[in-house]
Symmetry: C2
Subunit: 912 residues, 2 copies
């Protein structure tokens, strides 16, 4: 954790591989003075003497191949520049012929203060103030809640809820403001490493084509890795506690799944960005609790009312004896509707009025969730002292990506060449386009490729969905030939088809993740931030289409292009389009949704998130055992923290974690009308997911750089987009997929006694069997009675009407009702959402009060300071003999004010 | 413009009325030293000696009544505190027995710098930088545009487009950064007065119940007015130019209506808030140009195709001979459809397919407008150096409103009383609720009152609309009794009814404005900002309902509850619900809309904005002439600027200006499908409106306080709300009010040859005349042939069908089509809007680049400074004998860094 002198803390580690045929040990610790002082004061020239000093070593290192030497020089220049920036380095001896070498970086106090001032890092001042307590009742209620939830609270040292330090951006001119007790611990480890990281990012290396920052160097393999150190080991004796161990014990174990997350500690250890992710995940999970409770209630309501449901009773009643038209040509027979009794009853579980209520609830729930997230974000921002940061301020720290710089350099080289050629052939035309960036011309191929690839991927997804449809149709037809399997045909086919869908989704999910990354690289975005944003959008688009297209098909398209008896629609010769089960498509939608959602979560969690990392670890262990080098043995004795951290996986961003949750959010919200249990399953998954992710961050990854951010960025937009889309999709599910509207219309317009009796009869049209096309009649009808008319589910004119089999008036009136429902539902829910959005202020009342109070306290603080200054001037003017330094300062001030005011000397007194 | 010494600029003026029976002149200029120095240095005790010094005067002023004396003391305390804050005051002699006295305030340099630092006012530094020019083609294009528009540019000295000063919040510690040439003009007049205003706002007056700020004092009549001075006169010789005159010549005259607005100058003179209003108005007006062009084209398309329109030709064709059912009971006769030929042809002007296209265009136009406004706002924010300001930062300057403070004080007094009473009766129960604010309990009556009043107002509006309906029905019935007037009945009735509507709207508009203000006062909001917001919301709600309810009625309800022949719906005995004209309701909607919109604009502009101020001026002049006091004569000789400004109207905020425009925006967007010429009329109005408002601000109002703001606040939300609502309303206008969908359905489903031939016949249902109810048949039918069946406009089953007069299948299918259109239109347009919103970045690319560049320049600037500091340390360490002040400073620094770093002395060198 420290330099060899055991005093200076290691804030950052750079790792590189070296190959060293001649085993000359080169400068053990770089922090010793190597260059004379003169060199440093004219910094621009710094690299010359360095290179010269390096020159004689070069001769010694002749046997090294050129590339390696080049890299070595680049490293040395970079490290020299770091030292120039004030950092202190320590390096291992490159004693072995080849291996990894660690450069350990320490940021001394001077550097920390300078950078903290530039980065406007807010630090606590001496001034404390009390956070306004609420009214008596609210306070008591709060106390009770706190007492009740105390076993759920993680046992970590918390900042007090009652008092808060006034924070102010660090400024070296106002040192007296801050409560600096120990300069080693005033900035915590995350802040220290962030400061070092900033310096690493902006330090360029002139030898390596003027590449900016450590990320370029890593991209060009000059360094291998760069990471801050973990705070220590997460397991071990109780005695030496550190934040990492604390996090492990109170957060990153399955054993504490019931506890709240120690968000402040997470933020302190991993930085704001990761802190916000876990805060978001926590809020989402806790919001899933009420919705899963209500979902279960809705489901239970369905179970309880199943016996009272008139339509399903009518369907099951054999005495009604609806003779249905055959489900396939030739081999299928007429059948009695009562045989589909089971599905009808099952479908009532999800297709009942409570579902409508539930989907309105869930739409508002989504809005509430987003609003509350905004509030929580503000609250955290306040306690984490992020209120002053602007977005633009963050952006200046964004440097170009290495890939982008390479492209620009290539382009410039090329242009120079063509320019030279042009100059030779034609001297009049000189185009002075600005070369400091890629124009849309350079990007066009990338964009085209992107567009084409995404279209192709989406087409691929759709064709797979279509393939599964064809599979279902053909297999169902094939199976229905065999008499013995017939009863289970539908179940078998549906189940296998969903399984195929699931497997395809899982495979494509991984592929699309990689494709999205590749496509974004082709685009060559300039900054890391825009890279991330583009990647997220692409990956989201592809994964969204992948996960939901089969579900969308079942919800809105399946069974709608069947045609009617006598003029069926055929996919290809002899195979009719598939129909929904007699109970309605909602049942199938529910099945599809639940299997895909559960399967995706279970398999992704178990295999991809637990299994594969374990496998990787195992493989690495095996590899280590097969090559038992000298390194391993030396490390085993007493491995340093940087060795331990180096053996962990590098941190690669939060995108996959967010993506998984967002897709899940889609399952929970988009089709919640068809599957009220979705929130419950999501809740169960997330309780595990939180700890899984926590464990990964604490034990399996190198410590990520602490990134300061105010919000979760584009994810919020995607979430609110899904929320809005879910309103429309639920409106259509209720109106079009479920039988809710037809039942309502029947009850109020057609029913004789206002009940649903006769509803089933009403939904079935008649077909004159004699009009069946030649060759499509059932071949061997075992059906008991003589069949004159068979029935099918549609609203069409009966055979005896003048315009037979046209859509009937009922069809149109029910369609009108369905569409009217969509309009009303969509606009009502959207209006309610806007209302909720508007009613809940984005900034919690107490926080905005606190912020105001903090500002005015700060104002008072400075005014007081001002006053004291003036007093000093005053006393100085009275006793002009005393020449204390403070007077020197203030007298400068007063002379200024004398120059400044053109007032008469009389009024001068009143100014003072 | 200056103090009597002709040197110190007057930055602010306070006015009060005094009554002075004993004519003792009291201290001519307060800027003379009155209190000894000792008093000032211990500022808290300041008011004691002042009061004491005042004491002996009090005795002299015995005859003054107590209230006046009290006010005088409060004024004196306040003015003393202002001086204590560093301001310099000058006062007129209170020579007359009563009159207005002016307190002129000057802010000396020292105060300006102090406050500028607190307020974080950004000022230009010495550092200039070039604004990145665009690529060659864009640049050339830009030049051409600039050359072409140069006669449209106002001739004002503009800041260069190519160079910009780097701005940085003012800091007295970094004075060397700024380009301070003349301390009198470094801060411009608007900034100076803003600074004084800030001090005035936060200075309290302990004598007057500790009231905070000048606004409380004005509210309690202690002062009468407080305003900054105008820059001079706007008319007069060319020689002495000032910003006000420049604004008048280049902006605030009708003669320059074709020119762009000098936004930067407006902002410099009036501050950011008013600058943003005019920038917004300008953008809105210029956005109206394309939309009115397309609107005119759409209208001309209607005119051009009027001869080809088959339905109107069919209606006018007398050979068709559709015998229509009578329009009223008894007195009306059967009539031939061809008599309504005129309205049918007129209605085609607005009811054609181009309208659908136009309303999609307008929905996107609204989105584009809002997006472009966001961009313009960002751009202005960048050039006006507002990028660093946060909203919260602005809020701390918000002090409580005087009314609020009074209420809180009253409440506290009352509670103390009850508390005392309670203490006496019951000592155990002590409620320590925090008293520093009003709780919801205190506010409840206000809220209830608000809710009830708003409901009442809305009900009033609705009942007036209903009253006009009744008027129309009864008058139409009465007039139709008279044979001679019959042909003009409809036109007469409609026209008079709309006029009544218009007059009512105009009257209620004024009333509702006052009511909203009163209701907001009842609510007692804490800050000025929340007062404004609540007022705007209420006023908007009331005015919106007022302006649009009659239009909504015509668009969506008129003619829909008529019933059918044989079972008409009666409003009251004998009076049937009104129907739309045979050409469709769209024509009437158009009429209603155009008359209300035009009438409102013309009358409000002419009478309320031009007429009434003129009248007020005239009245005041008359009044002045009747009381020719000594004041008038002395002022007439050589009126000072503060006298002139005092005679102007006080500035009362931008709310009415915005409100007028927002209501107009509603007319332009909400029903644009029915009236494509609306944008044109709005454009014509706005060209005048801009100059009208400009004239008002430059010539008729006192100079407003410069308010720094980043955006137009709640108006933007209201605008985007109207934009969203307009999508739905246009969808319904096209689907429900116009005949677009029925025509489409007829053409593609019912027509034999795919044309509209036979459409009119299709829309008319048959009615068996013999089924007319007893007593409702036409009394004296002069109709030529024998009438068996009459026709009416509806889709119902014919008399010969089994279920006669029920809605027919056509009805339901057309209804489905209408609803489907609404869904498709709404979601498509909303999706397109989101897409447009997403495609156009909120921050223009060049501005975000500039902001980044500016930040990095600032960073470099400071790093360089840092470097120089280090060099100084270095040179100081080498020659420790020289003791220059700069060394003193830097040595303090280096000793600090020595204390700071725990490194060994060896590494110390590398740090430096």
């Amino acid at each position: 954790m420290h330099f060899l002198d055991n005093q200076r803390k290691v804030d950052y580690v750079l790792v590189y591989h070296y190959r060293n045929r001649g085993a000359h040990p080169i400068h053990g610790s770089l922090s010793h003075p190597r260059a004379p002082l003169a060199v440093i004061s004219n910094g621009e020239m710094g690299k010359e003497p360095n290179a010269a000093g390096q020159g004689n070593m070069m001769i010694e290192m002749g046997p090294l191949d050129a590339l390696e030497a080049e890299k070595k020089e680049q490293r040395e220049e970079f490290e020299y520049k770091l030292m120039e920036a004030g950092l202190e380095l320590e390096k291992d001896l490159e004693s072995k012929s080849q291996g990894s070498s660690f450069v350990r970086i320490h940021a001394p106090w001077q550097v920390l203060t300078r950078e903290a001032e530039f980065l406007k890092i807010k630090v606590p001042t001496k001034k404390m103030y009390e956070i306004k307590s609420k009214g008596t009742i609210a306070k008591k209620f709060n106390d009770v809640v706190q007492k009740m939830t105390s076993p759920l609270q993680p046992r970590v040292p918390e900042h007090s809820d009652k008092m808060k330090n006034l924070s102010y951006p660090f400024s070296r001119e106002k040192m007296y403001l801050y409560n600096i007790q120990d300069k080693d611990t005033f900035f915590d480890n995350a802040t220290r490493s962030r400061i070092v990281h900033e310096i690493l990012k902006r330090t360029s290396c002139s030898r390596a084509n003027n590449m900016m920052g450590i990320h370029s160097l890593i991209a060009h393999n000059i360094y291998e890795a760069a990471y801050p150190l973990h705070d220590g080991e997460y397991e071990g004796p109780e005695g030496d506690m550190n934040d990492r161990k604390l996090l492990y014990q109170e957060w990153a174990r399955y054993g504490v799944f019931y506890k709240f997350q120690p968000i402040d500690l997470i933020r302190k250890y991993f930085g704001e960005k990761i802190g916000l992710y876990f805060a978001w995940l926590g809020l989402y999970t806790s919001f899933l609790i009420p919705s899963s409770v209500i979902g279960v209630i809705v489901f239970l309501y369905g179970c309880a009312t199943i016996e009272d449901d008139i339509p399903s009773k009518e369907m099951c009643d054999e005495t009604n004896g609806f003779t249905m038209c055959p489900l396939c040509d030739k081999s299928c027979d007429y059948w009695n509707l009562s045989t589909a009794c089971g599905t009808a009853r099952a479908s009532h579980l999800f297709d009942n009025p409570a579902t409508v209520f539930f989907s309105i609830f869930m739409a508002l729930w989504a809005t509430m969730f987003l609003e509350n997230w905004k509030r929580l974000q503000m609250r955290l921002g306040y306690f984490w002292d992020l209120t002053g940061i602007e977005e633009e301020e963050e952006n200046i720290q964004e440097h170009s990506r290495p890939e982008y710089e390479t492209r620009v350099r290539e382009k410039m080289l090329k242009e120079q060449k063509t320019h030279v050629q042009k100059m030779e052939t034609d001297k009049t035309e000189s185009d002075d386009e600005d070369n400091d960036g890629l124009t849309w011309k350079d990007r066009l191929p990338g964009y085209m490729m992107n567009f084409a690839s995404i279209l192709f991927m989406i087409a691929l997804t759709f064709s797979i969905v279509f393939g599964v449809i064809v599979y279902r149709i053909t297999v169902a037809a094939a199976l229905s030939l065999n008499k013995s399997t017939r009863p289970n045909v539908r179940a078998t086919v549906t189940a296998t088809a969903v399984m195929i869908n699931l497997v395809v989704i899982l495979i494509l999910d991984e592929i699309y993740g990689a494709v999205a990354k590749w496509l974004t690289k082709i685009e060559v975005p300039r900054t890391e931030e825009s890279f991330e944003q583009r990647l997220i959008l692409k990956a989201f688009l592809l994964k969204f289409v992948n996960a939901y297209s089969s579900i969308f098909y079942v919800a809105f398209f399946k069974g709608r292009f069947v045609g009617r008896p006598g003029s069926y629609v055929y996919v290809f010769d002899g195979y009719r389009m598939e129909e929904c089960a007699p109970g309605g498509c909602l049942m199938e939608l529910c099945l599809q949704l639940s299997i895909i959602m559960l399967g995706k979560q279970l398999i992704q969690n178990n295999i991809f998130e637990i299994g594969i990392p374990k496998l990787k670890k195992l493989l690495r262990k095996l590899k280590d055992e097969t090559e038992p080098g000298e390194t391993a043995s030396s490390e085993l004795k007493h491995p340093e923290q940087w060795d331990l951290d180096y053996s962990l996986e590098p941190y690669t961003g939060l995108t996959p974690e967010y993506m998984e949750m967002i897709i899940q959010f889609g399952f929970v919200s988009l089709f919640v009308a068809s599957f009220p249990l979705a929130p419950l399953f999501a809740l169960l998954n997330n309780v595990i997911e939180v700890r899984l992710d926590a464990k990964k961050f604490v034990t399996e990854l190198r410590r990520p750089d602490a990134v300061r951010t105010k919000d979760i960025g584009i994810w919020f937009d995607i979430l609110s987009g899904i929320g809005k889309f879910s309103v429309i999709s639920n409106a259509f599910v209720i109106a079009v997929t479920s039988d809710f509207i037809p039942r309502l219309v029947y009850q109020y317009s057609y029913s004789h006694n206002g009940t649903l009796h006769g509803f089933i009869n009403h939904t079935l049209s008649y077909f004159n069997v004699s009009q069946l096309k030649e060759g499509t009649q059932p071949e061997n009808s075992y059906f008991g009675q003589e069949v004159l008319f068979c029935r099918f589910k549609d609203y069409r004119e009966p055979p005896w009407a003048p315009n037979q089999y046209e859509f009937s008036k009922q069809y149109w009136s029910i369609l009108s009702a369905r569409l009217a429902f969509v309009i009303v539902f969509q606009n009502l829910v959207m209006f309610l959402s806007v209302l909720v959005d508007w009613m809940i202020p984005d900034i919690p009342k107490d926080i905005s009060d606190q912020i105001k109070k903090e500002k005015s306290l700060l104002m008072d603080f400075f005014l007081k300071e001002e006053h004291e200054k003036l007093k000093l001037i005053d006393s100085a003017q009275r006793s002009p003999k005393s020449l204390t330094p403070s007077f020197r300062h203030s007298s400068r001030h007063s002379s200024q004010s004398q120059r400044g005011s053109h007032a008469s000397s009389a009024s001068q007194h009143t100014i003072v």
